[in-house]
């Protein structure tokens, strides 16, 4: 398979980047997208050129590190996969492929295709947890009966890996799907309801402070999410937020 890669190159956070063309031959359809980039980087290193920097870690769709906007879509044209799960069989011989970093002011480019997604960490730190009293009276979480539907929905929300595809896909660079998943996974459970009002207000305030855009319900985030996080979470977060704000 012969490809023309158009890759965003940027020396560092302060430098101005640009798209650079890289013709690449010998790509096999069974390669993952990241393996294809590994092949390119080996060639660049052998030529004495700077390899392309990109995020990756587990390479099995769990960690959420691999990002990449591929031909205008986060994680490329396949559905419910991360970039490491995307295979070259999704492309054709002779294709031109644009590879860019996830774009959002809240996700500044570190170098080439690597972006700083620590804004998500700060949203999580603002309230995405349950405080546990460890004074010796701790009750086993499993001792509290939980409605099966709520347990399932909380689990689904908790499968969010914080990859940032929702932000990258959204025309407004909104982080509402991520934040709402983190709000929902606790709001649905009795253990999380104690701090529910403070949590949603703090997490939304942090999300806004990070400079993400507003949600306009295009639904692009849900379509592009590798874990299929539902828009229902955003509606739930809106309800939680309004309820918390009105009650003061």
């Amino acid at each position: 398979m012969k490809l023309l890669l158009k890759i965003w190159r940027q020396k560092d956070a302060k430098s101005k980047g640009k798209i650079v063309d890289y013709p690449l031959d010998g790509v096999e359809e069974d390669m993952s997208f990241l393996e294809m980039l590994d092949v390119l980087n080996e060639q660049l290193i052998n030529k004495g050129e700077e390899p392309v920097v990109f995020d990756h870690d587990c390479r099995e769709g769990i960690c959420g590190m691999c990002s990449l906007q591929i031909n205008g879509e986060p994680h490329g044209p396949d559905r419910q996969v991360t970039t490491c799960q995307l295979h070259m069989r999704m492309f054709n011989d002779g294709d031109t492929i644009f590879i860019e970093p996830f774009r959002a002011n809240a996700f500044p480019v570190v170098k080439d295709l690597m972006v700083d997604r620590s804004a998500f960490d700060r949203i999580q730190h603002a309230g995405g947890y349950v405080s546990v009293n460890t004074s010796g009276n701790t009750i086993d979480a499993n001792a509290i009966p939980i409605n099966k539907d709520n347990a399932d929905d909380a689990f689904s929300a908790a499968t969010c890996i914080g990859c940032g595809a929702c932000v990258a896909a959204c025309k407004n660079a909104s982080a509402m799907l991520f934040t709402s998943a983190k709000v929902s996974q606790y709001a649905l459970l009795p253990q999380g309801q104690v701090e529910a009002a403070d949590r949603v207000q703090a997490m939304v305030a942090q999300m806004d402070a990070e400079g993400f855009g507003n949600c306009t319900n295009t639904g692009a985030c849900e379509i592009e999410c590798p874990k299929g996080i539902s828009l229902e979470n955003i509606a739930r977060m809106n309800r939680e937020y309004l309820s918390a704000s009105i009650k003061g």
Partner: protein, 219 residues
Amino acid sequence: MSGIIRSSIARKVAMALSGLFLVFFLLQHFSINLTSVFSEDAFNMASHFMGTNPLVQFLLQPVLIFGVVFHFVMGFVLEIKNNSARSVKYAKYNGGANASWMSRNMIYSGIAVLAFLGLHFYDFWVPEIVYKYVETNPEVPTRYYEELQHKFVSPVRTALYCVAFVFLALHLLHGFASSFQSVGVNNKYSAGIQKFAKAFAIAIPVGFIFIALFHHFNH
């Protein structure tokens, strides 16, 4: 409570509620216009009531104007803020792969509807205000139907109205259905609500187009 004023969710809910209010107004406006197809007297009676009732004139009308202005101003403010959340744009952006044209272009369909409102105010609202409150003419309960038909004599104006209603339909196709999501409604009834909202978004503008064409060809 102070945080809610500046929050993204509060803005989103405000947009949804003002939009829902305008949708309700649209239904009321359509209902009155529809009477013009069936009965000249009914249309004159309804128009005269709306044009002279103090509650409508001095309470509901200002509320409506506030709702319209708020919806458009907030729409522009959000568009500017959202654009500024991504300073460096993608070299290749495939928005059509994951979102409808309507949802991605609400600002353009909104501008088209705003432009139409300018024409509509010029055609009906401004002359009405001048007639009643500037020239202080005597009340003529039978004048409305004739004025309506006179406006749709021009094929250019009729065509402009029809095009504007197409943009209104495109705006409503996303806006009406998504306003429920914004106010937190996403449950087992959502599929039905979405179907109703989309049917409304097509039926009402098509109805307005029918009324415009009816008066153009029957004046």
